[in-house]
C-alpha cells in the first residue's frame, strides 16, 4: 500500500510538470495553430538561467524571476523572428521551424552556459514529509501547487480578461477576430510570451528535484505534447488532466513494469490516443471548413 502511495505521489509531481508543459503547448496552439516543438526548451531555460543567476550571487527568488523574464523574451523572439515571417506556411514548414528553434536554443545555451548537469537548493529544505507510509519532498509540493495556481490563473485570465478573450476569439477565427478589431499579431506574441513564462516557471520549480542540463528539453517537449494530445489538443483542462494521467502512468510503469521503459509510456500513449480517440479525452469533434 505504501509502495503504491509512493508511486502515486511521485507520479503527481512529474505529472504536474508535464501539465505545465502541456498548458504551454495549448496556449500557443490556440492562438496560432502552431505546435511549438521548442516548448521543452523553455523549461530548460527556466532551470539553467536560474542556476547561473543564482551562482552569480543573486538570491534564488530574484534569479527565478530573471529566468522567467528572459525566457519570455526568448518566446517573443521566437514568434517575431521565426513564426511571424513564415505566416501562411504549410504545417510541415512550421514543424521544421520550431524544431530548428529548439535545436538552436539548445546550441546557444550550450555555448553561453555549459554542458554540465546543474541543480540548486530546494525552496523549503529537503526534509521529506510523511504521507500514509510514503514520503514526499517539500519541493514536490511547490511543483504541484505551482501547476494548480497556473491553471487557476489561466482559467481566470481566459474567462475574465479582455486579452484572454481575444486569444480565444483568435483561436476560433483569425479573420473574424481581426474584423472586430483584435490585434492578432499582438495576441500571438503575447501567447508565446505566456507559454514561455509558464514553461520557465515549471523549470524553476522542478530543477531541485530532476536537475537540469542543456539537453533536457526534447524529452519534456515530447511528454508535454503527449499529455496535451491525451487531454485533447488545445484544451487547457485536458492539458492539466493529460499531464497528471501521463505522470501517474509513467510512475506506475516504472514501479510495476520496467524502469527502463518508463519513458516509453508517453509514446505508447501518443500512439494509442491517435489510434483510438484522436480528439483526446476532452477534445471536441471538429469539422473543417473548406
Amino acid at each position: 500500500m505504501s509502495e503504491l502511495m509512493q508511486f502515486l505521489l511521485s507520479g503527481v509531481t512529474v505529472g504536474a510538470v508535464y501539465a505545465l508543459v502541456a498548458l504551454g503547448f495549448t496556449i500557443i496552439y490556440n492562438a496560432s495553430d502552431v505546435v511549438n516543438f521548442a516548448q521543452g526548451e523553455f523549461v530548460m531555460l527556466g532551470g539553467m538561467i536560474t542556476f547561473f543567476a543564482h551562482q552569480a550571487g543573486l538570491p534564488l527568488p530574484l534569479a527565478a524571476l530573471i529566468a522567467i523574464a528572459v525566457t519570455s523574451l526568448v518566446g517573443i523572439a521566437l514568434n517575431k523572428l521565426a513564426i511571424e515571417p513564415a505566416r501562411g506556411a504549410p504545417v510541415v514548414s512550421l514543424i521544421i521551424i520550431t524544431i530548428g528553434a529548439s535545436i538552436l536554443i539548445r546550441g546557444v545555451t550550450q555555448l553561453v552556459f555549459d554542458k554540465q548537469i546543474h541543480s540548486y537548493p530546494a525552496f523549503s529544505g529537503d526534509d521529506p514529509i510523511h504521507v500514509l507510509g510514503a514520503t514526499i519532498l517539500p519541493q514536490s509540493l511547490w511543483v504541484i501547487a505551482g501547476a494548480l495556481l497556473v491553471f487557476i490563473a489561466l482559467w481566470i485570465f481566459f474567462s475574465k480578461t479582455l486579452m484572454g478573450k481575444a486569444i480565444l476569439a483568435t483561436s476560433n477565427n483569425r479573420i473574424a477576430a481581426q474584423l472586430v478589431g483584435i490585434n492578432t499579431n499582438l495576441v500571438m506574441t503575447f501567447s508565446f510570451a505566456l507559454s514561455a513564462a509558464i514553461g520557465a516557471l515549471a523549470g524553476v520549480l522542478v530543477t531541485p528535484i530532476t536537475l537540469v542540463s542543456y539537453d533536457v528539453g526534447i524529452a519534456l517537449a515530447l511528454k508535454g505534447f503527449a499529455a496535451a494530445m491525451l487531454g485533447g489538443m488545445g484544451n487547457p483542462k485536458g492539458a492539466l488532466f493529460g499531464g497528471l494521467i501521463l505522470g501517474l502512468l509513467e510512475a506506475l510503469t516504472a514501479g510495476y513494469l520496467s524502469s527502463q521503459y518508463k519513458d516509453a509510456t508517453a509514446f505508447i500513449v501518443i500512439l494509442a490516443v491517435l489510434f483510438f480517440m484522436p480528439q483526446g479525452l476532452f477534445g471536441k469533434k471538429s469539422t473543417e471548413r473548406v
Binding site: 513564415a86 521551424i97 519513458d263 491517435l274
Partner: protein
C-alpha cells in the same frame, strides 16, 4: 533529341558520381562520398513523403535502425546472408509503416509527424534496452556483405572505400530512378494532387488515405535500405542510427536542398554530410548551425536551396 527532366536528373547524378573520384585528393573522400549517397537514399524517400505528398515523418530514423539491425542480427541468428537481410529489413519496415500509418494517415496535419516521432523513439528505446539481442547502447558488429570479395575473384580489385563509393552510388541512382518514375505515375500524380489540396484531391476521386499510406510505406523502405547500407559499410551499428536527431537530419537534408526535387534533396544530403566534416574545429557550433539553417531556409527559401538557386539562374522566371 530532347531529354525529359527525369533523364536530365539521372544524367547529372550519374555524371557527378562517376567523375567526382577524379578530383579526390585522398582515399578518405570515397568514404565521405559513400556517406552522402547513403544519406541521399533515405532523403530520396523523404522527397516522396514530404515533397510529393506533403506529409512529415519525425521518426524515419527508426526505419533506418530496423534496416541496420536486420543486417547485423539476421546473419548471426538465422544464417541469412547480409545482402538478403537488406530486403528482410525493408519488408519489416514496410509492414511497420503500414501498421502505424493506416489508422493515422486518415487524420491531417501534425498527426503523422507526432505518431512517427513516437514510433521512432520506441524503436531506438528497444534497440538500446534489449541487450540480449542488440548488445545495448554500445552497438553491435555487422558481417561483411561479401560483394567486394566476389568482385575480386572476378578480377576487379577495389579498396573498401572505392567499393562502397561505387556500390552506394549505384543504389542511389536506382533510388532516384524509382522516385522519379513514381513522380509521373498515377500514384505520384495522386500524391501531388493531395499535396495541393486534400479536399480537392478527394473530390476528383483520389483515395487520399491510401495514397498517403503508399508514400509512407515506400519512404520507410528507402530509409531502411539506407540504414542497412550504412551498417554494412561501417561493419557496425548502434542505437544512434535510430535516434531522434538522425530523423531530424533526414528531414533537414531534404528541405534544405529542396524536398520537391530529387536532385535538390540529394544536394541537401551532400551539404549536411560535408558540413560537420568541414566544421570539426567548430564542433560546438554544429547544433546552432543546424537549427539556424532549418529556420532560415524555411523562411527565405521554402522551396529549398537548389530550386532557389536554379530560379536565380533562369532570371527569376517562375516554373
Amino acid at each position: 533529341m530532347k531529354l525529359s527532366s527525369k533523364q536530365i536528373t539521372l544524367l547529372i547524378l550519374t555524371v557527378l558520381i562517376a567523375l567526382s573520384p577524379f578530383f579526390f585528393p585522398s582515399g578518405y573522400y570515397y568514404r565521405i562520398g559513400a556517406l552522402i549517397f547513403v544519406n541521399g537514399i533515405a532523403v530520396t524517400g523523404i522527397v516522396i513523403l514530404t515533397g510529393y505528398a506533403g506529409q512529415i515523418s519525425l521518426g524515419h530514423a527508426g526505419f533506418a535502425g530496423i534496416g541496420g539491425y536486420a543486417c547485423a542480427l539476421a546473419p548471426v541468428h538465422w544464417g541469412i546472408h547480409p545482402g538478403l537481410a537488406i530486403f528482410l529489413g525493408a519488408a519489416i519496415s514496410a509492414l511497420l509503416a503500414y501498421l502505424v500509418g493506416r489508422p493515422i494517415l486518415r487524420l491531417k496535419g501534425y498527426y503523422l509527424g507526432v505518431a512517427s516521432l513516437g514510433m521512432g523513439i520506441l524503436i531506438s528505446m528497444v534497440l538500446t534496452n534489449e541487450r540480449w539481442l542488440t548488445k545495448g547502447p554500445d552497438g553491435i558488429e555487422v558481417p561483411e556483405l561479401g560483394l567486394r570479395a566476389l568482385l575480386k575473384d572476378m578480377g576487379l580489385n577495389l579498396t573498401n572505400g572505392e567499393f562502397w563509393y561505387a556500390f552506394s552510388g549505384i543504389c542511389l541512382i536506382i533510388a532516384a530512378w524509382l522516385a522519379l518514375n513514381l513522380y509521373t505515375s498515377p500514384t505520384g500524380r495522386a500524391l501531388r494532387a493531395l499535396h495541393g489540396s486534400e479536399i480537392a484531391a478527394r473530390t476528383v476521386g483520389i483515395d487520399v488515405a491510401r495514397a498517403k499510406l503508399q508514400a509512407f510505406v515506400i519512404s520507410a523502405v528507402f530509409a531502411s535500405v539506407s540504414g542497412s547500407l550504412l551498417a554494412l559499410q561501417n561493419k557496425f551499428v548502434s542505437p544512434d542510427i535510430a535516434g531522434y536527431m538522425h530523423s531530424i537530419e533526414m528531414v533537414t537534408m531534404a528541405v534544405l536542398g529542396g524536398a520537391g526535387s530529387v536532385l535538390g534533396a540529394i544536394f541537401g544530403a551532400g551539404i549536411l554530410t560535408l558540413l560537420p566534416q568541414a566544421l570539426t574545429v567548430f564542433a560546438e557550433y554544429e547544433q546552432l548551425m543546424l537549427g539556424l539553417v532549418m529556420i532560415l531556409v524555411m523562411i527565405f527559401m521554402p522551396q529549398g536551396l537548389l530550386p532557389s538557386i536554379l530560379r536565380k539562374f533562369r532570371g527569376g522566371k517562375r516554373e
